[in-house]
Amino acid sequence: MTADLESNQHVEQFLTFELEGEAYGIEILKVQEIRGWEPIRKIPNTPDFVKGALNLRGSIVPIVDLRERFQMQKVEYTPVTVVIVMSVNTASGTSVMGIVADAVSDVLDIKLSDIKEAPNLGSKINTQYMRGMFVGKKNMVMLLDVDKLLNPEEFVGIAVLAAIAEGK
């Protein structure tokens, strides 16, 4: 869907959220819903960053903790902690997933031209999920590609890669 909206002059709306003080943005269209934090039902035998699942009006939504995903420091969930329910386009279709973010900020209208390319840090580091960077007024927003980010098949790979990126 985003593909046909992409043009340099096209303004996309990104929902920015915070994660470890860093702003990240995701396409708003991907966002299905923003919810506040709710206790999550844990699911065993899942990677750690998969927190569990939420019951969202009858549908089971797996929740991913991006912090853990990005190997960031784990923090306690605050009331401000939001769960951003997104719909992820995967090979197998659209699946709804949620991510946990520290806070949700604005909806930014970003011109595609303003999206800077993500730096290439080598082949080892997978920055595929980064769509680019956006220099905002206050900070740099890393725009994430949700699809690549939340692809279940890539979970492991990303995790592994993330682990490799961490130098483990």
Binding site: L15, I28, I34, V107
Partner: protein, 781 residues
């Protein structure tokens, strides 16, 4: 005729039962005089023997008598007459003298004179005769007709018999003639025959009688000559035979008696000689206690003792003892007589005469019939012995009282006494030597020289003594050596102790001073403590006050806190509300975002909605902001309140702490007060203790003084001891070891005193420290 003058008119009587015997040679020189003669004559034996017998002639004696005597003697005939003799002193004594020539081998050898005591009649007759003779009025021998008559009367036997025969013959012849005339021839022849037979018989009888007489005369002379082996016809029957037998019997008896007498005499003579020459003084007295025998020794003894005895018995005459009575020796003769009369066994006694000590041992002399015939008295002039006894006794006394320098004179000692004296002298010598050695050793020991030992050789007890003394000296040496060492050691130690005691005394004084200071300090401390107590009380009060205030403050704080709490609560509530608002804002935001999302999703149609959503988001953000701000404000105020609460809390805490602190302070102050009280009490006790300590310290000081004095005295004593011991020279080392210089120890003491004085005890700690320092030094010292 020798006339011996002067004469006295004193008559000396012969002792009854005695005979005076003298022998003279043919010329009248006395060859022998028996004791009785010697005694009565008054001359000594030496004067008599060898002198002419006429020396005893009394001038009253008529010379005719002696003429007669000599005539008879020369004629070989014995002579007897009473004779008056003169004693040496001129006294006279009458004797019945019997002088006879002594034949030896038929020849006259000498004249023997035996004199008996005459009877009074004899003397009277003799006296009258001699007077007459002297007056030439009488003769000894009958002269003239008397002589003729005597001669006729003393015709020989033959002649007498002849005459008698003739006288008898005449009637016979007459009768024979008558018969012849009457021619009675048978009767005539008978008578003739008878006459002839009778003549022959008569002749033979007379001849045999005369022969017998002559034989007997011969035998008698022979017997007088001590020839007793004369053949005598013993078988003859008649009177002559009787006479012969009697003669024979006499011969035999005389022989045996003489032999016996000779034997007895020789025995007696032997014994007498023995007794004469025996050393003992033997005196024999008869039953009347006249001295009948004295041996030479007793005579000499009395002679020697005469002078001394005369002091007591002025009439004593040693030369006249023979025949004298024992009574003259005794003051109470009757006593002695009584004693001696009943003497049946040995009687010994001792008497002192004229300074002479005499022992007498009297024994009765009994004859064979056990009749007492006399007493034999042994005199023992023990004077010499007594003198020696006394000498020995004096020597022994001297030795007993330790006077060993005198010795018994050996010069006048013989025999047993010589040996004894020698022995005693030797003994005394030995004892003297022993004691000299012992004495010299002891003396040197007494003068401290222990190197002198007894070196002479001794035996027995003396050897033991010597060994013991030497061992003692060795031991003493050893002991003195050791004692000397010990004394020196003690001296040194005592000096050390003395100085130490001095030190101690000083320290004690110092301690006393310190204690006094302590006491003073304690006083101050007491006052300080009192002050403290007071201050503590005050502080207590103040603290109480403070506490109260603090409590009040605390209450206020509590109130404040509670107010703040309330504020807090309100703020919290507000915060909550604001949170709610915030949440709402958030949710609104989310909704707005969701809306935006939906709007975005909606695309073009949702643009207006997105604007609305944006606006709502703005509003939400505004409200969020406002809420945030309010929250911030609230948070700020809450913070502030919290801070304030905290401050108040802190204040409260502080106040609590203050209270607590004050409490503590109060407690502490109370404790302080208590402690002060205790301190006071303690100080009181300490004061007491200090006072006691002071007292004790003073006592200690006194004791230390005493100990110091004692140790000084001990030091003096030990110095004395050392000096005294120096008196002894032992063999090992000289006892004169140097006494540890008292100067040194004194200087040490002074140094100590200086040290003590230089840092005067000011405050206790310093002084204590110093004392402890000094203690260390003391220990080191």
């Amino acid at each position: 005729m020798k006339l011996n003058h002067p004469v006295t008119d004193r008559e000396v009587l012969m002792k009854p039962g005695t005979i005076l015997v003298t022998r003279t040679n043919l010329k009248g020189i006395i060859t022998y005089a028996n004791d009785a003669f010697i005694e009565i004559s008054g001359f000594s034996k030496d004067e008599l023997v060898g002198a002419n017998h006429n020396m005893v002639r009394h001038p009253d004696m008529p010379p005719a008598a002696f003429e007669d005597l000599w005539n008879c003697l020369k004629a070989g005939r014995p002579w007897t007459a009473p004779v008056k003799n003169r004693t040496k002193t001129g006294d006279y004594y009458w004797v019945e003298a019997n002088v006879t020539p002594v034949f030896k081998n038929g020849k006259v050898q000498e004249y023997l004179s035996v004199r008996y005591a005459p009877s009074r009649e004899q003397i009277q007759q003799a006296e009258s005769l001699y007077e007459k003779l002297n007056a030439n009025k009488a003769t000894i021998r009958p002269t003239g007709i008397n002589a003729l008559i005597k001669k006729l009367l003393e015709l020989g036997l033959w002649k007498k018999v002849g005459i008698i025969y003739l006288i008898f013959l005449l009637p016979t012849i007459n009768s024979i003639y008558d018969h012849y005339i009457e021619q009675k021839y048978p009767e005539m022849f008978l008578f003739l025959g008878l006459a002839g037979f009778a003549s022959i018989l008569g002749y033979s009888v007379i001849r045999s009688v005369v022969k017998a007489l002559e034989n007997s005369i011969r035998i008698s002379y022979r017997m007088a000559d001590e020839q007793f082996r004369n053949t005598i016809d013993l078988d003859r029957g008649d009177e002559i035979g009787d006479f012969y037998r009697a003669l024979y019997g006499m011969q035999v008896k005389l022989n045996s008696d003489l032999a016996y007498s000779k034997q007895v005499a020789s025995e007696a003579m032997r014994i007498k000689q023995a007794l004469d020459n025996v050393q003992s003084c033997v005196m024999v007295a008869n039953n009347d206690l006249d001295i009948i025998y004295m041996n030479k020794t007793v005579a000499d003894m009395f002679q020697n003792a005469e002078a001394d005895i005369r002091k007591q018995l002025p009439d004593f005459n040693a030369s006249k003892l023979m025949g004298a009575n024992i009574d003259q020796f005794h003051k109470k003769p009757a006593h002695q007589r009584g004693l001696l009369a009943n003497l049946s066994s040995t009687f010994s006694s001792a008497l002192v005469i004229g300074g002479r000590h005499m022992n007498i041992v009297a024994n009765p002399v009994k004859n064979d019939e056990n009749e007492r015939i006399g007493i034999v008295v042994e005199w023992l002039d023990r004077t010499h012995e007594v003198k020696i006894e006394q000498e020995i006794a004096s020597i022994v006394e001297a030795v007993k009282v330790g006077e060993l320098s005198s010795r018994i004179e050996m010069a006048d000692k013989q025999g047993f006494f010589e040996t004894l004296s020698e022995g005693i002298n030797e003994l005394t010598d030995v004892i003297e030597n022993v004691f000299r050695d012992v004495g010299s050793t002891m003396q040197s020991m007494a003068s401290g020289d222990l190197t002198n030992r007894i070196t002479s050789d001794y035996q027995g007890v003396y050897l033991n003594c010597k060994n013991d003394i030497n061992t003692t000296i060795d031991k003493l040496n050893e002991i003195f050596g050791q004692v000397s060492e010990s004394a020196h050691f003690i001296n040194n130690s005592s000096q050390e102790i003395a100085s130490g005691n001095n030190n101690l005394s000083q320290r004690a004084e110092q301690q006393a001073a310190n204690l006094q200071q302590t006491a003073a300090s304690m006083e101050e401390l007491t006052s300080t403590v009192k002050n403290n107590a007071d201050n503590a009380q005050q502080a207590n009060a103040v603290a109480n006050n403070a506490r109260e205030l603090a409590e009040k403050g605390g209450n206020v704080v509590k109130a404040a806190v509670s107010a703040m709490q309330e504020i807090n609560e309100s703020s919290n509530k507000i915060a909550d509300i604001i949170s709610v608002i915030d949440e709402i804002a958030f949710q609104t935001n989310l909704l707005a975002l969701n809306a935006s999302v939906e709007a975005a999703r909606a695309g073009e149609q949702g643009r207006g909605f997105s604007v609305v959503a944006t606006e709502v988001r703005n509003l939400a953000q505004r409200s969020a902001t406002a809420a945030r701000e309010s929250k911030e404000l609230i948070q700020t105020s809450v913070q502030k309140v919290r801070a304030g609460t905290e401050f108040v809390n802190e204040t409260g805490k502080a106040l609590n702490e203050i209270v607590a602190g004050v409490q503590k302070v109060g407690d502490i102050v109370a404790q302080i007060a208590d402690a002060s009280i205790e301190q006071s009490a303690g100080i009181g006790q300490v004061n007491q203790a200090v006072a006691q300590m002071d007292e004790i310290t003073q006592q200690n000081a006194a004791l230390a003084e005493e100990a110091s004095a004692a140790s000084v005295s001990m030091s003096d004593l030990s110095t004395n001891m050392v000096e005294m011991l120096a008196f002894f020279k032992t063999e090992k080392k000289s006892g004169q070891q140097k006494v540890v210089h008292q100067a040194d120890s004194a200087s040490v003491v002074r140094a100590e005193a200086n040290r003590m004085a230089s840092s005067p005890a000011v405050r206790q700690p310093s002084s204590f420290k110093q004392t402890s320092q000094a203690d260390d030094e003391w220990q080191d010292f």
